[in-house]
Amino acid sequence: MRVVVQSGPFDLGAETSGFAAAQLASGAVVTFSGIVRDVSGGLSAMEIEHYPGMTERALTDIAREAMQRWSLEDALVIHRHGTLTVGEQIMMVATAARHRKDAFEAAEFLMDYLKSRAPFWKREITGDGADWVAARDEDEDALKRW
């Protein structure tokens, strides 16, 4: 299990193949990556603030819980902070399990939890100024299914 919090970019392809190649007992690897999107057409950058120390701790707790609940062989979480531009990768999760159902479910669990339980805050920078992204009720509701 590996948790990484960094400001620089990561190589999704290299991370995914490295993760998959390290698995010997797993028949299934699932990856998800989140990308900076430009919904309204005027986004010049996205800034991601975080809480150093608590971020690593929260992500590790979430990953550890996923490992236990779905008997994962391995899990990887990478999440960036700082200033990102449209199309850049913000984060990725990867899960490895014997069978795909566990790998898919654990990846969804990781995503749902890190969206609203890991201390990151997004701010969208446009020509009109900067706005903090508001948390969505759906994201909080998504936790209830677990």
Partner: protein, 81 residues
């Protein structure tokens, strides 16, 4: 203890971190003390339903006790992923 502020809470109060000497028994008592300081604190803590709190880097509630605590952080709901 250290009190930390993030995102718009940090902006509204104007600083990311400060040392606070307090006898507050709970997070809510600390909020009451901070609100009484200045308008910028009162504004930041106006609507607690819009805030989350972590005590020693663990998410918790506003009724959490503060005895022996080193670090309290206030911030809006998180928007990671």
């Amino acid at each position: 203890m250290d009190v930390l502020y993030f995102a718009w809470v940090r902006e509204r109060i104007g600083i990311p971190k400060e040392q606070v000497t307090s006898d507050a028994a709970t997070v809510m008592d600390l909020v009451t003390e901070l609100r009484a300081r200045e308008d910028r604190y009162a504004a930041a803590f106006e609507d607690l339903s819009a805030l989350r709190v972590a005590v020693d880097q663990e998410l918790t509630d506003f009724d959490a006790p503060l005895r022996g605590v080193r670090e309290v952080a206030f911030f809006p709901p998180m928007t990671g992923g």
